[in-house]
């Protein structure tokens, strides 16, 4: 496997993680998963009434896709809620992986980073492989690593906003401070160019949902994001040139016709 991504000792041959929510239909979700060539999809748990088969049929669709699942604790507002949800997810989905969200603000869905670190410490101690949804704060990142996280997932912008990277300096600084930790940009990307941009910064992967599921053609957009991620990764490996403030001719100046000043 060439240029594989390793997350908690699992090699993954796709750098695009895909959310499964808000697609026009289950069939389009299944097609988008294939078009994105993703190997990891995020899933959730929600209340269900007796006699409903909705959860069962969704789970069957995901299993048929062959993708590994990353359950989330979306919407949890306290450490207790997040930890209990993680326990429930481990039993239902049969994985120790958990995308840990502890939401601190309803308008921005910004994570409560204090609760996040506390919940991460508890869950790592219980054998979970924690993927923390965080801001791009360096100190929070340090605390999460101290808590035992081996992957970090900073946001680019608020969940579902599609704004792209709000703080490129912060993401660049995070990458520079933690060169060997897998870093996945989670949330806020709206277009394949945004995904390419963060991959060019050296991020290891991106996690998307709304940008694909709410596109006019989610399947085509899934394909476009896959291309964007691949292009950004290839560009990072190819070491982009350093930007300059002034022009530098690309065509050689020496030998130009009509150059009266030349000897």
């Amino acid at each position: 496997m060439e240029d594989a991504l390793t997350l908690y000792d699992v090699k993954v041959d796709s750098r695009l993680l895909l959310g499964t929510a808000r697609y026009p239909s289950p069939a389009i979700l299944a097609q988008a998963i294939r078009a994105a060539k993703t190997r990891i999809v995020t899933v959730s748990l929600r209340r269900e009434a007796g006699g409903s088969r909705a959860g069962q049929s969704f789970w069957a669709l995901i299993r048929e896709s062959g993708a590994r699942v990353l359950p989330n604790t979306a919407g949890c507002r306290t450490v207790k809620e997040a930890v209990t949800t993680a326990h429930m997810a481990r039993e239902v989905f049969g994985t120790d992986w958990i995308k840990l969200e502890v939401i601190g603000d309803e308008d921005t869905l910004q994570p409560d980073v204090f609760g996040l670190v506390e919940a991460a410490r508890i869950l790592v101690g219980e054998g979970f492989c924690v993927f923390p949804y965080m801001t791009e704060d360096l100190v929070v990142a340090e605390k999460l690593l101290e808590a035992g996280c081996r992957v970090l997932m900073p946001w680019a912008a608020p969940i579902g906003s599609g704004r792209g990277v709000n703080n490129v300096f912060g993401l660049r600084a995070l990458r520079a401070h933690f060169p060997r930790t897998p870093l996945i940009v989670d949330a806020g990307l709206g277009a394949p160019s945004h995904a390419a941009a963060v991959m060019e910064l050296g991020y290891d992967a991106v996690l998307l949902n709304t940008a694909v599921s709410r596109a006019g053609d989610p399947v085509a957009m899934a394909r476009a994001f896959a291309l964007g991620v691949d292009a950004g990764r290839a560009a990072f490996l190819a070491q982009p040139m350093t930007p300059r403030d002034f022009a530098r001719p690309s065509t050689p100046v020496i030998g130009r016709a009509f150059d009266e000043g030349a000897a």
């Binding site: 959310g19 499964t20 929510a21 808000r22 697609y23 979700l29 995020t42 899933v43 959730s44 748990l45 929600r46 209340r47 269900e48 009434a49 007796g50 006699g51 409903s52 088969r53 909705a54 959860g55 069962q56 969704f58 789970w59 995901i62 359950p71 989330n72 979306a74 207790k80 809620e81 209990t84 326990h87 429930m88 997810a89 039993e91 239902v92 989905f93 969940i159 579902g160 949902n209 709304t210």
Partner: protein, 65 residues
């Protein structure tokens, strides 16, 4: 007995969590459970008694981002 199930107040006859799932016709649905915000493993439901005013959560796989 009056308890809260997924946020709704209900009168139920069940005295254990396992019996509650049966009474509410969950059958073989793939669900996870919590009692008063604490996770209860599937294998422990039979021996998990319910009390008046308990709060039960019953969740299943769902699309998520």
């Amino acid at each position: 007995m009056r308890i809260r199930v997924n946020g709704d107040v209900r009168d139920v006859a069940a005295r254990t969590l396992a019996a509650l799932l049966e009474e509410l016709e969950y059958g073989d649905q793939l669900v996870a459970t919590a009692l008063n915000r604490d996770f209860v493993r599937a294998k422990d439901r039979v021996e998990t008694p319910l009390s008046e005013n308990d709060s039960v959560e019953i969740v299943a796989p769902k699309q998520g981002g």
